[in-house]
Symmetry: D2
Subunit: 361 residues, 4 copies
């Protein structure tokens, strides 16, 4: 088999998950190189994952690694820069969420990829998480009638990496980090013919106010033209490990699903043990012991789909356009949180970063 | 990549699961041929799964397909016959549980494979089910101290295929079909240095007495030389879909895990939908909607391990010897259910099939 | 023991629950009479519950029954009328939620009771539901640090009685019926020193639009002066039986509790059985079988507290003032749903009924 | 109301639960006196619970307190002594489980109560626990067809009081303490016409071997004449708080119910809080926060029934004869654990205490 060559940009939490996914589940891809800013870290990562190449220079990593695909797992503020470089080098792009920092960047990225005949594949893994996809399929079979309300939650006590807390690098807090999941998933569940018409949001700084100006707790309501609403609750202020849940309410039924607690073994340990789940804290006493975390969140399914799109020249099910649409919803959410008003769509402000719309008030 | 060639014998429920596992998760293997007794069924299966070869003759399938590995997914009474043919043709063997019909067959299979330098790989998927393996790993880290009790349940309303109900072909009912899982898993959890010392069992014919002489409800207690006990509850008489659960009790904690209900989305559907889980029955009203059933039961992990053992000439973690040890425990269980007595081990009766020890009384 | 005499006004679903609560759990009270508009229904109810007196005239029921307390379980539009009559007759009043139809009525009821030295006890049972009260107490012990978000849900497929669907009699739909619970519970959890500062709400007519002009699905966000928010999701459009849940998010932890599904036995029944839970529909297949429904919702605890307040001349923990404060929040919610804007508090519109603020737009 | 007068013997864990139950839920009874061996403890308990009389002499407590009913909450070895004294004084008797230490005592107690026209009411609270009673009622409605298997578990890390660990005072360990619940509940579920035919048991000393000779982990299988089996798992060796669960398997369905974890709020607390549930240990991290523990275990329902039987001269639903039948099953269990054999019933050995049949081997 002729493997598709991938260069991975980044060496953080999400990069590790992508690397595990490629190695275990996607034999048709080969990660040929890693880029990270600090040379010694790039080398260590490459050695750990048996990857031949490592680079401390972004452009060299893209141009000299011989890759077909660039997988961008960098801090948000570097997304546009990385995609631009990849597209100019005629590489297909997998881009971790959120797409970028603002709509102008989004437009440029999309246009440039199009002009260079590169696929811009937007890595929203909730469109691939197998439990949630199972839910989507039974809903599409008509199991719950017509959807009138969706709920998505992703909550934990905050990311490890520093850049998330630097709003110049992240563009925002829990919404930029997790809110994008819910907003993307609402669109995915409702399909391309259902349009959002307004956004209302509440944001607050609860738990990390000493560390960041960004919101660490958020609630977003998106109203769609069918009358359905999506409620996204995302937080960096929730103790006790990751919570990732959805609820689908239809006129003929309801579905509840839960990726972490609801998939776990339930353990009581007097002495504790190594690891329970993402951000779980102590493992003494009761804990929820997850398994196959990457798989259950859909990363292998996602990346396999993207590699297949490259190999067979197919249209990805989530693209830069989806990332841009989510960006618009996030901007509207920050605007709403800042003004206290429901924001009608379309909403296309010209700001450097989304959180300015909240902090600016 | 040079793929390992597999010929799959059988075309039932479990054959389908193996084929899905190979196709989606094990690119290093290629299923080159299928055998099933009825030519038209073999052809249909081969076409459905894009498999080049199909055979209605067992020996031809093994000898003429060009395979490296024979994967036996046949009714129990054909296991020894198939393994013998495979070993004589110098093929490695993956054998679905239970190993065979009696200890004599087991010994012959093991010896013949050894003599022909073929691996005999015993497909006990609970040793690979990722949630249960996660539990085993935290237990091995010391999370719950020293194990003093294990519980395993697998319960549903009975298999679909007719041969399970014909004791000449199955050798027994719920114990031969599912009890083997618990007995194998107890040994796996406790490790090779812990020996079973006695077996007590209760069996009954509850729900399928019109269709089979076999037991369709069972409870087995295995006592080990550490004082730990394993309790296996297995049933073909439980309504409402599959239940597969474990409990691990240690001096310093406890773990509960659940492969089906505990991994599912929870759905209420007025109209119903296509499929909830194995043997679930109606999907109207509340149902437990499972996802990635094959993966969550560990079939891909299991078969990937076996293919790796062949490719890298490694010792499989579960072998014919394990299958034989489980067979001895099952024989002791039938003896106990027949006599009402606890049966000390070793127990090596000479019977044609296990259930004779119960029905013979 | 000298029993406190209660006259119960009403003969619907909630009246039955009150009667069960008095009979089983509150020996210090005696229900001496029932009032309902249709004489034959009043008589039947009185006989069923072994109650000596029955009346088809409201004023006679209050004045001639010899009661100390009037317990008002009538449709919303009759609340003010009944309380007025009770207060004039110098009877203490237990008033089912919501307090009444508008703020003017609320003020009059409160003033009149005060003038006549009658207690006006507002029956918000979530302040008494023992699981939720247990949660409140551990939260007050500091178990989760400082509250920053509360969530309350009450969802089912809609009430049985016709008057709920007649907005002239109900004043509104799911919000008037259930939203009051969440709004009252937020205030109860946060305590008297925390003040609401704004309300945002979304309402829709989803499932019962042929039967009523009222909203049957709602989402309300209340912002408090501590920065905490309360999210109330209440619905008459959710299939599969009652759902009643709370979530408490604090800076040092989180609590989830669930009164129906989370307290139930889990049953699979091929043939079905009589009753699973409130509004559950079919009991065939899987169902959640609740027990002690009235007790688990706190009705006995609530009514016992009110009777004790009467007997010992204590101040009830929930009063007409609380009911009025909830009414103000509900009015703000309807206003917000009507205008699409966040409504700052205080908000004291002069309308005949809350839903006018939504329907009027 | 003329209250029925109760003298309570004992001042331990269960005495407290009875006192709470009387006080909150059974106004038709008045606890007039408490007996406990140490005068200062008796006085303290009486003061705490506002009970007028307290005694440090058993006979005086019974004879001089003016009671109608004696409620025996003493260590097992004092049961026969207390019941004898009560019957001779013509008092009705509520006797906590297990009935006594052996069959001879049981026979004497039953005979003496009969001769003195005293009711001997056997306090098996699982016959009253409201969730389990709800299950029994839906099963009796036919919800699960014909029962073929029952499972009962009660597991925690061991009682607090010393006498439980002294086999001369307790007569045995986890079986005498908890096994009696399962054995009593099996009989209750199956009804008076279904007879047990054999018992098999496994017992072990796992966790408390330094403190007691008694078994602290047990598994009992009772076979009934319908072919149904009951599986009782009871343990003092399970960490993480109380577990109390039942499973009912029938030919047409299944029911699972759970009194502690399955009724709890789920709490994550960084700092911890006062109390989660019986024997729960630390409340830091995740914990299951139960509520209304006494009520949910059925103590108020049980004691209310017994008081009603006294007041209305009714036959209690569980009597000394039931306690004796459970004693016979426990004796057979110890015999089976001692001999490794299934014990046929009837089994009426003459031993001083049940555990002798296990330890004597």
């Amino acid at each position: 088999m002729n493997q598709t060559k991938v260069t991975l940009l980044g060496a953080g939490f999400i990069a590790d998950i992508h690397l595990e996914s490629y190695r275990r589940f996607i034999p048709e891809a080969e990660v040929v190189a890693i880029y990270t800013r600090k040379p010694e870290k790039a080398e260590a990562m490459a050695k750990k994952h048996h990857i031949a190449g490592w680079f401390a220079d972004l452009d060299e990593a893209i141009e000299q690694s011989g890759c077909d695909v660039v997988d961008v797992c960098l801090p948000n503020f570097l997304h546009a820069r990385a995609v631009t470089a990849a597209a100019r080098a005629h590489k297909h792009v997998i881009i971790e969420k959120p797409l970028c920092m603002n709509l102008e960047e989004a437009g440029n990225m999309i246009d440039l990829c199009k002009a260079n005949h590169c696929k811009l594949m937007y890595a929203e893994e909730l469109c691939f998480a197998p439990k949630y996809e199972r839910v989507r399929r039974v809903v599409n079979e008509g199991a719950v009638g017509k959807i009138f309300q969706l709920r998505q939650c992703e909550k934990h006590s905050g990311p490890h990496s520093d850049w998330f807390y630097n709003i110049e690098q992240s563009g925002g807090g829990a919404v930029m980090d997790m809110g994008c999941h819910g907003l993307g998933w609402f669109r995915w569940m409702l399909g391309p013919n259902v349009k959002p018409v307004s956004v209302y949001a509440h944001m607050a700084s609860i738990y990390h106010s000493a560390r960041t100006k960004a919101e660490d707790n958020s609630l977003i309501i998106v109203e769609f033209d069918t009358g359905a609403i999506g409620v996204a609750e995302n937080s960096w202020a929730k103790q006790g490990g990751m919570d990732d849940r959805i609820e689908v309410y239809g006129t003929g039924g309801v579905v509840y699903a839960d990726l972490f607690v609801g998939n776990s073994a339930l353990t009581y340990s007097e002495k504790g043990y190594g690891y329970a789940m993402e951000k779980a804290g102590s493992t003494q006493g009761w804990s929820f012991t997850v398994f196959e975390e990457a798989f259950n969140q859909g990363y292998p399914h996602e990346l396999k789909h993207f590699i297949e799109c490259v190999r067979e020249d197919k249209q990805p099910v989530v693209t830069g356009e989806d990332g841009r649409a989510v960006m618009e919803l996030m901007l509207a959410a920050y605007e709403s949180a800042g003004t206290g008003r429901r924001v009608p769509l379309p909403f296309r402000p010209s700001v450097k970063k989304p959180i300015d719309l909240w902090l600016g008030r």
